[in-house]
Every structure is written in structure tokens, then in C-alpha cells.
């Protein structure tokens, strides 16, 4: 069990969360080219080591989180809310 420190809920089992995917992907604007969309949707760096990824605390506070985690040891080094406004609110309240 990976334990994820949710910035709102505290440390929880990863089974409460849903894995999103590679958090470094920047999705292009809706009017961007098919090539730009192809790269964002289909291509992955597939890092072996520390990667930024998204998880949603789907059975918790429902926040999408940006998690830095090793894909080898599963160790997590940082977690924050993806939404910058939410991240700010949580920082001010912790």
C-alpha cells in the first residue's frame, strides 16, 4: 500500500485514490494542432525514477493532486493540489 499525504485529508491509503497519469503533460489549447494534441495524448516519457504524476482523491476530498513519486521505490517526495487556487487555500489553512 502506498500512503499518500493528501494536503486536505492527511495521509491515506492509495486505494482511496485513482491514479491519473503523467502530470508533466501539458494539454494544448482546444484550437491547437492535431500534432500537438497527438503528442500530449499519446506520447509519454515513461520515467523510471522520480516522476510527477496526478492522482485524484476520489474517495476522499476529490482533489486532483500533483504527486512526485519514484516509479521504482514508490516513495513519494511531494504532494500538492493541482489547482493553484486550492493549493493556496490549503497552504493558508494548514
Amino acid at each position: 500500500m502506498i500512503r499518500i499525504h493528501c494536503p486536505f485529508c492527511g495521509e491515506r491509503d492509495h486505494s482511496e485514490f485513482a491514479y491519473g497519469g503523467d502530470g508533466s503533460v501539458v494539454y494544448p489549447a482546444l484550437d491547437a494542432s492535431a500534432e500537438a494534441w497527438h503528442d500530449a495524448v499519446f506520447l509519454r516519457e515513461n520515467i523510471r525514477g522520480l516522476q510527477v504524476e496526478t492522482w485524484q482523491h476520489v474517495n476522499g476530498c476529490r482533489q486532483w493532486l500533483r504527486v512526485e513519486r519514484s516509479t521504482v521505490t514508490h516513495e513519494i517526495t511531494s504532494v500538492q493540489a493541482c489547482h493553484p487556487g486550492v493549493a493556496t487555500v490549503l497552504e493558508s489553512e494548514q
Binding site: 491509503d13 482546444l30 494534441w37 485524484q56 476520489v58 482533489q63 486532483w64
Partner: protein
């Protein structure tokens, strides 16, 4: 020549005699016995047969490492195969049976296999059984499968019941600061120090009692053990016995198996049989002990050959001395205390020490007790069958071993050294480190919050183990920010004389069957054969010989195998490798792992607020994802076919009511709600008026269709979206992802209100009248007040709030009405009498399907994740004037190619014929086998009076005009000529729903 139950000593309760059955024979033991100790006390030496050669097997250990005494427990649905007799507590009425033998373990005809043992070397089955012998003529797999039937019957150990397991199990969660695995001296000390530092400590012990190896010492030494236990009690430490920490996982999480009732004669029906704990600990102390291993010598698998410490356990803990004449074979100091205890109890004891000499202090005490010691000596082969009656020794000489003398004995006790239990560390993929001076793998350092203590860390003496435990407890406390006295951990080891590495006793020019893995009948020669054939990496050796793959996962045999391979390769043990132990440490019943999530509770059932109401009104349910939904409402004499045709007909003729609660519902609120919808739907949403609903399609990022539904505008910044039942959760998550990760500037809140609102569709020409009768103000649903796609928030009679949209899935005049869930039955009690009075009906999913197929409306059967919006015939809903999710990638060439399969309607040419969903559409030829299209749904159309279908076919209906198409269905052996038509098979202009 027999084992003796001593009249005193041990930790059994002689006042509590327990009757049990062994292979149909009534025997008795005492409270505190294991099945193994009770069998030994009754002189039952042969308790099992080996996997391959069916050699007789007896008790070889007193613990979880047991490779011999595997038995079947219980009968009927309670039958439990491959139970270790050595860890099964005895209880009154226990029934046990020998397994893998016929007619029984004492006389097993399978033993004939032993005669052919020379042909059954490791991996022989890879070389034959392919075809007709002797040269494997033939083709295909048929012959192998005939051989395989015989092989499968011979393989396997015990026989599992085929009846459903009648017991129940449960999960439990726990949190603690420190989890201590193992309740021996080190574990008890670690727990005490950590608890004294103010930490929340949990200690788990697989045995029924705390104390670890001290339970195998004379009972007089019990004072320390009892003091340690009571200290933990005082400190409030949580202690679980009968509980195995079976696996260590990420994040400091351990899996434990608590055997709640396995040791009870008549358990409470309310207690689970076993409990699977998931423990999250901030720090874990592994004080999991060490296992004594044997040596490979001739017939070392015979009943009566066991480890020294096992024999000590049987005497000191269970009051059973395994023989009057005992030969102990050792290469280390650990056996001498036991030897003197055996001698003092009246046995004749001889120790064969493989070493040339030892420190006098080691043997002094034993010799004073009458123990005879011979140095430079080891067993060459055991004699006798069951149990052993003697042995021939080997004497160490310059080149290795030479044949020695013959000796008599009742039991041959062996100590080939000790292996720390590093299995849980191995679960963390920490490789252990070979220590040549101690002849064992020691735990390596790790960054994880783990400490090793006691003999698990290679510390051999009890006093040192206690200190090692204290040091680990203190380390845990300090790591968690508590103050604790600093205790220096003792170095590994502790024997006065070094161990002599002896793994195999082999005399040049002689060969005996010597076992490395007794459970799988892997011999020393098998390991050497693997070497000759090039299967030399540790993993290849393991897989080729099956060494270490039996139910003990090679807890004691692996090291001997590694040593033999190292010798064959002329390398050191660490160069051959270490094996990775996988969880679980000891096998865990699947029942425990599933807990209560089985049968009807395999997945939670989701029901609508109308569930009971529907059942009360005759619904037959079907599943839709996790939901139960009404399938059809049969009246007397009707089956599903009659019922749905009647229901669909009634909807077209008068009115029907259907529970649509399971649709996903999302409240979309905020100043940017409109913008969000306009970006995610393919069609324009920017100008939807308040009080209006619109049908919308969403694509995935890759441009294929994700979902459809309607969205109602309730206010300037307030929308109510419905999704399909199947994709409700997925759509919600996707929208949340968009708002929280991609479009964080949009001010929109999403709330799932699926559970808040119960919905019913009222469909049919009389639908308005039915609603009018139920509404407080009937005028709100007039054609003028509520035109097609209009939305109104109003009240039913009885002051029930309701939101109504005039939308239609059936093609009839229809409304969807949603009320807060707790009011759903009341709503139906208003609507149903009004519908019934007009000859209306309740309808279910089957009729819903019939109605939508007639109209060519798509559902999940069509929107299967591989179709474009054009394929589904909805291309006109993709706006050309805006960009939306999926719009970029929807334009990829293959997705816009001419001639793609398009949504069509399907009629049989002969209108009396039916055809099946799942049929392929062909042009009458086999072609490339993929057909020209496929059929997604069929129904008997009440409106058209014949079977119709929806499906996809290359080029769509226009390309097939006047051409022959066949609905071909080889798996149901039906071919039907069909006509390809427009998917809008009924009322194509939609006149019926607008009136």
C-alpha cells in the same frame, strides 16, 4: 524404539485430554499440543507422502518451515488441504487425514514411483511426453494432453473441497507507531522499550504463545518470559497471537493473518474464522527469528529425521521425547543444551559434530549429563524406514568425507546451521548479505523504517537477543522522536566455536538419495543436473528443479541448493545469488484476503429509491453496472418477450413509467458553467436558454465518442447534467480533471447529485395527462408552457418538489421527472394510479431498448469507445464553429475516411425471421473474416411488427441500398438475409414527441 510422552514437563495441560481423529483412528493428546506433537506422542511417524516419489514423510520441524508433515484437516466443505501439522493447535474433535497417498500414507501404492526415480530427474518432462515414444513422433498437443491428465492426477498435494467454503472471514485495519513482528525474546524486549518511550506498539506472534524459542527451553526459565509479557500488558501494548505478519508492503504497511477460530473446537458463529489485518506502522521491528536447517545426506527425508530444535521443542514444550536413543548431528554449537536436556531426561544421546574440535565449554555441560560426542563426524545415510532405525556415519578426511560406522538410533536430529528469517525484508526487495563466518544470509541495511532484531539479525544467544531487541526498540523510539536509552546492538553470532559450513555429506564414489527440498523431492543430484544443463542462475535452478517452490518457499532448503550450485560452479554462494522471497511468508487462505466481500457482497449493490416499489409492482431486475434496474414487469403468464413487447406497445399507445434514477446527475454551478459545457460538448451550449434542456455528445481527448446525455439550464449559472448510467462516474471524474488540472481559471463547481434525485420517465401519448393529474399545478406541463426540451421546476401534490424536462428517449411525447430521493415512492404513488387509469404500464430496460432501437437512439452498445460521432450518425451535432474536447484529434485521416462503418437500421428480408445482436453483417461471402459490419442491438418492434436491429456497416445505409446483406452468427448457427435501412426506423421525423 518409540517416542514417549513424558509424565511431566512441557507446556501442555495434562488435565485436559483432547480426543482427535487421525486417518480414521481415534487418538488423544492434551491441550497445548500441536497436531504434530500429538501424532508423535501416539507414535504416528508416517504422516505424509512426498510429491513425486511418494516417499514416507514424517514430522521434520516444529514450525512453519515444515516440509514433511502436511495433512488434510476436516472433511466435507470444511476440508482444508496441506495443513502443517506442526503449527496446527490440537483441539477436541479435530479430524486429520494423510494426503497424496492411496490407500493411505502408511501403505501407499504411489511409492512404486520411487522405483523409477532414476528416470524422474529434474526437468525430465521437458524432454518427453510430446509425441509417441520412443522418439516423440506426431504433431499437435493431443498426446501431451493425454499424458498430462495422468501427470495432473499424480501432482498436487491435498485435495480441496469442491463445496463452497462455509466459513466467513473479515478484514481489519490498524494503525500504530511500532509494529513488532515476533514475540520471542527480542520482539518482547523491543516492544517493551518502544512502549516505555510512550509509543503505540503492536506485537504479533504467529504462535499461540509468546516467548519464541524460550518456549522450547525448560519451563524453569519461564520467569523472564512471563515478566516480559506482563510488562507489555501494563504498558497497553496491543498483542495478537495466532497471527502471522505475512507480507510487508509499501508505505510501512504489513499484512497480518489472525487465525481467530482455527484452534477452537466449537467456535462462535459470530466470529470470523480468520481476520486479515492491514497495519500501517511508522516503524517496524522484525524479530522474526531464525530457522534451523538440516544437511543433505542419504535418506535425510526419512521419518525420524528432524531438526535438533524441533526435537527439543517436542520435549520441552509438548512433553514428547522423540526417542530413547538419539543421535544429534551438528556443525555448530547450538545443539548442546538440547543434548544435555535429552540426556537428563533419560535418553541415550550421541552428538556427531562435523567440526574437528570445539571449545571445551561448549560440550562440557552436555558431556557431564552423559552425552557422548564424536567429532569430525556426520551422517552419511539414514537406515530404516519409518522411523529411522540407525545410520551410517561419515568421517571427515582431507578430501571431504569417508564412510564411517553404523549406529543405531530412534531418531536422527540434525542441525546444519541457522537461517535468519529475512523473508519480510526480502518482500521489500532488500537483498540479504551472505556471511560466510556464520554460514547464513544476514539482513542488509535499508532506508526504510525497519529494524531487525534477535536471531533474525543473526544473533544466536537468548541474552544477546534481548539486548538486540532493546536496541531495536530504542532505535524505533528515537526515529520517531522519542527519547529512549541508547542500547548498543550486539554483533551477529555468539557461538564459542565457529560453525563449519556443511551442506551435503557426500562420500566419493557413493550415491544416495539426498534431499534438498523434501516437499518437492528435489535431490542434490537434481541440482547438479541443472548445473550440467546450464540452468545455473539461481532463478533457473529454482525453476528447473522446482527447488524452493513448494509450500514452504524453500525456507530451509534454498541455502543448501545455493551451496551445491556454488560448489558445482566453483564460486562462492553470493555469486550464485540469493532468492527473492515473495509474500506471503506462510500461505494465506483466499477467504481471509477477501474478507466479507464475497457472494452477494462481492461488489456493493446500488439500488434506486424505487427499488422496493418496483419489486412490489412486479419488477424482474437485471444488473446495469453496479445497479439493479427493472428489466421487465411481467404480468400473469408472461415471459420476458411477451412482457417487453406489451410494455413497448403500451408506451406507444397510451403511457408507460420507467425508473431512470440510475442516470448520472451532476450539478454544474458557477459563473463559468456555460463555458465549461461549451468546451466539453461537441454541440453549442453557449446560448441555451434558462428553462431549456439540450442533448449533447462528449468526445474523449482522442476524438472518439465518450458519452451522451442531456443538460438542463436551471439558472444563469446553474445546470443539471445527466449522463449515461454506465459512464456517470467517468464523466464526473473527467470534468473534475479538466477543471482542476487544465482549466483552473474557470469558476465552476461540480457536485454529483445522482443520489439526491430519483427520476422517472413518463412516456407515451397520455404522458402529459398522467403528469397533470399528479402535479399541484397541472398547467406547467401544457404544450405551450413546456414545449419539447423545456424544463420546469414545480411541485407534485403533497408538496413534493420536482424538476421536469420534456425529453424523449422513446420517440413518444415524454417527460423526465426528478424528485428528491426520499420522495420517490410518494411520486410513484401519484403517477401510477393516473397511468393505470389510462391503460398505462410500468416498463423496464428491455422495453426501453425496444423503443430506442426503433428510434435509432444509440447507447453503450453502439458507443463502445471505438466510434466517431459521424459513425454514430450524429455528425451534425459536431459544431464546425467552435473547438471542443476531442475536436483536434477527431480530424485524423482514418477517422474521417470514407467508407467507415456507419450506424444503420436492419430489417430481415423475410419479416418472420429473427436475428441476433452480435451477428456480423456480411455481403454473403466470408471475405477477410471481419465482415462488413456488425449488429449491436435487436428487438421485436411492436410498432413495425417484426424483428429489427441497429448496427454498423461500411458505407452506411446508402451504400447498401439494393445490395444483399447477411446477418451471420456462426456461434449460434444462424444466417439471416437482411435489408439495411436508415437507423430511424420508426417515426423518422419525430412528429410523435412534439405534440
Amino acid at each position: 524404539m518409540s517416542a514417549t510422552r513424558l509424565s511431566q514437563g512441557g507446556r501442555i495441560d495434562r488435565s485436559c485430554e483432547l480426543a482427535f481423529q487421525w486417518d480414521g483412528k481415534g487418538l488423544s493428546g492434551y491441550d497445548g499440543d500441536t497436531l504434530a506433537s500429538a501424532l508423535l506422542a501416539n507414535n504416528e511417524w508416517v504422516v505424509a507422502r512426498s510429491f513425486k516419489y511418494h516417499r514416507p514423510r514424517g514430522v521434520m520441524s516444529a514450525g512453519v518451515e515444515e516440509g514433511g508433515a502436511l495433512v488434510t484437516l476436516g472433511s466435507g466443505a470444511h476440508r482444508d488441504a496441506n495443513v502443517r501439522a506442526t503449527t496446527q493447535p490440537l483441539f477436541s474433535g479435530l479430524e486429520a487425514f494423510g494426503q497424496n497417498a492411496w490407500p493411505n500414507v502408511r501403505t501407499d501404492l504411489g511409492e512404486v514411483n520411487s522405483l523409477f526415480g532414476r528416470f524422474f530427474a529434474a526437468g525430465f518432462y521437458y524432454k518427453t511426453f510430446m509425441g509417441v515414444p520412443p522418439l516423440e513422433w506426431g504433431r499437435g498437443t493431443w498426446l501431451w494432453m493425454q499424458y498430462e491428465k495422468v501427470i495432473r492426477r499424480a501432482a498436487g498435494m491435498g485435495r480441496a473441497s469442491r463445496e463452497p467454503d462455509p466459513d466467513h472471514y473479515e478484514h481489519a485495519n490498524a494503525f500504530c507507531d511500532v509494529l513488532v513482528v515476533g514475540g520471542g525474546p527480542a520482539g518482547l524486549a523491543a516492544a517493551q522499550v518502544a512502549a516505555e518511550a510512550g509509543l503505540d506498539v503492536m506485537l504479533v506472534e504467529q504462535d499461540s504463545k509468546l516467548g519464541g524459542d524460550t518456549l522450547n527451553h525448560p519451563a524453569a526459565a519461564d520467569a523472564d518470559r512471563l515478566a516480559a509479557i506482563s510488562a507489555l500488558e501494563t504498558l497497553g501494548c496491543r498483542v495478537l497471537t495466532h497471527t502471522t505478519a505475512f507480507g510487508l508492503y509499501d508505505g510501512g504497511v504489513a499484512g497480518l493473518l489472525e487465525r481467530v477460530t482455527d484452534h477452537q473446537s466449537i467456535p462462535s458463529v459470530h466470529q470470523p474464522r480468520q481476520r486479515f489485518w492491514t497495519v500501517r506502522a511508522k516503524h517496524t521491528v522484525l524479530a522474526s527469528g531464525a530457522l534451523e536447517r538440516g544437511m543433505a545426506f542419504g535418506n535425510n527425508d526419512r521419518p525420524g529425521v528432524m531438526t535438533v530444535n524441533a526435537a527439543r521443542a517436542y520435549m520441552q514444550r509438548y512433553g514428547v521425547r522423540v526417542g530413547d536413543k538419539l543421535v544429534l548431528s551438528t556443525n555448530n554449537d547450538s545443539v548442546y543444551a538440547a543434548a544435555s536436556e535429552f540426556a537428563k531426561s533419560g535418553a541415550e544421546v550421541c552428538v556427531l559434530d562435523a567440526r574437528a574440535r570445539v571449545e571445551p565449554a561448549v560440550t562440557e555441560f552436555a558431556e557431564a549429563s552423559g552425552v557422548r560426542v564424536e567429532f569430525n563426524t556426520a551422517p552419511y545415510t539414514a537406515h530404516g524406514r519409518s522411523p529411522v532405525s540407525g545410520l551410517t556415519t561419515a568421517r571427515a578426511d582431507r578430501d571431504g568425507w569417508a564412510l564411517g560406522d553404523r549406529m543405531e538410533c530412534d531418531a536422527l536430529l540434525v542441525s546444519g546451521g541457522w537461517s535468519p528469517v529475512v523473508n519480510l525484508l526480502s518482500h521489500r526487495q532488500v537483498k540479504s548479505v551472505w556471511d560466510a563466518s556464520l554460514a547464513c544470509f544476514l539482513p542488509a541495511d535499508t532506508d526504510e523504517p525497519l529494524s531487525l532484531a534477535g536471531s533474525a539479525a543473526g544473533v544466536w544467544n537468548t541474552e544477546d537477543c534481548v539486548r538486540s531487541g532493546e536496541a531495536a526498540g530504542a532505535r524505533a523510539a528515537q526515529a520517531l522522536g522519542r527519547s529512549a536509552p541508547t542500547v548498543s546492538a550486539p554483533a551477529p553470532g555468539g557461538w564459542a566455536t565457529p560453525i563449519k559450513a556443511v551442506y551435503e555429506v557426500r562420500v566419493p564414489g557413493k550415491s544416495e538419495k539426498c534431499f534438498v527440498d523434501p516437499q518437492h523431492d528435489v535431490s542434490t543430484e537434481d541440482v547438479r543436473l541443472a548445473h550440467r544443463e546450464g540452468y545455473v542462475s539461481v532463478e533457473h535452478m529454482k525453476r528447473y528443479t522446482t527447488l524452493g517452490m513448494a509450500t514452504d518457499q524453500g525456507k530451509v532448503g534454498n541455502i543448501i541448493g545455493l551451496a551445491l550450485m556454488a560448489e558445482a560452479l566453483g564460486r562462492e554462494i553470493p555469486e550464485v545469488g540469493t532468492t527473492t522471497f515473495r509474500p506471503p511468508y506462510t500461505p494465506v487462505a483466499l477467504g481471509a484476503l477477501r474478507g466479507r466481500h464475497v457472494g452477494a457482497h462481492f461488489r456493493p449493490l446500488r439500488v434506486t429509491p424505487l427499488h422496493q416499489w418496483n419489486l412490489d409492482h412486479g419488477a424482474t431486475m437485471t444488473m446495469a453496472g453496479l445497479w439493479h434496474r427493472p428489466w421487465y414487469f411481467a404480468r400473469a403468464g408472461e415471459g420476458i418477450s411477451e412482457a417487453y413487447v406489451r410494455e413497448a406497445t403500451t408506451v406507444r399507445e397510451s403511457v408507460g413509467l420507467v425508473d431512470v434514477t440510475s442516470l448520472g446527475k451532476i450539478a454544474i454551478q458557477g459563473p463559468d458553467a456555460t463555458e465549461l459545457l461549451n468546451r466539453v460538448y461537441t454541440n453549442p451550449f453557449a446560448k441555451l436558454a434558462i428553462g431549456k434542456a439540450r442533448y449533447g455528445i462528449m468526445l474523449r481527448d482522442d476524438g472518439l465518442v465518450m458519452d451522451d446525455g442531456t443538460t438542463w439550464r436551471l439558472g444563469e449559472h446553474d445546470y443539471f447534467m445527466t449522463t449515461t448510467t454506465a459512464h456517470a462516474a467517468k464523466v464526473m471524474v473527467f470534468l473534475e480533471e479538466l477543471l482542476q488540472t487544465r482549466w483552473t481559471d474557470l469558476k465552476v463547481h461540480l457536485t454529483s447529485v445522482s443520489e439526491q434525485w430519483a427520476g422517472v420517465a413518463v412516456a407515451g401519448p397520455c404522458s402529459r395527462e398522467v403528469l397533470e393529474e399528479a402535479l399541484a399545478d397541472p398547467s406547467v406541463v401544457s404544450n405551450e408552457a413546456l414545449p419539447f426540451m423545456g424544463v420546469v421546476e414545480t411541485r407534485f401534490k403533497g408538496d413534493i418538489p420536482v424538476r421536469i424536462a420534456r425529453i424523449s428517449f422513446s420517440g413518444e411525447r415524454a417527460f423526465e421527472a426528478y424528485v428528491p430521493s426520499d420522495y420517490a415512492p410518494s411520486m410513484m404513488d401519484l403517477l401510477w394510479p393516473a397511468a393505470e387509469a389510462r391503460g398505462g404500464c410500468l416498463y423496464g430496460l428491455e422495453a426501453l431498448g425496444a423503443l430506442r432501437i426503433e428510434k435509432g437512439h444509440v447507447t453503450g452498445a453502439e458507443l463502445d469507445g471505438r466510434v466517431t460521432i459521424d459513425d454514430a450518425g450524429l455528425g451534425k451535432m459536431a459544431s464546425k464553429n467552435k473547438h471542443f474536447i476531442g475536436s483536434a484529434l477527431a480530424k485524423r485521416p482514418e477517422l474521417e475516411r470514407e467508407g467507415r462503418a456507419q450506424l444503420v437500421g436492419i430489417f430481415p428480408v423475410d419479416k418472420s425471421k429473427r436475428f441476433n445482436a452480435g451477428s456480423l453483417l456480411t455481403d454473403g461471402t466470408v471475405g477477410d473474416g471481419h465482415g462488413e459490419g456488425w449488429i449491436t442491438g435487436v428487438t421485436h418492434s411492436p410498432a413495425l411488427g417484426h424483428w429489427i436491429g441497429l448496427g454498423f456497416i461500411k458505407g452506411g445505409a446508402s451504400a447498401w441500398h439494393g445490395k444483399r446483406a447477411v446477418a451471420t452468427d456462426p456461434v449460434r448457427a444462424e444466417d439471416v438475409d437482411v435489408e439495411i435501412v436508415s437507423p430511424h426506423m420508426y417515426d423518422p421525423n419525430g412528429e410523435r414527441m412534439h405534440g
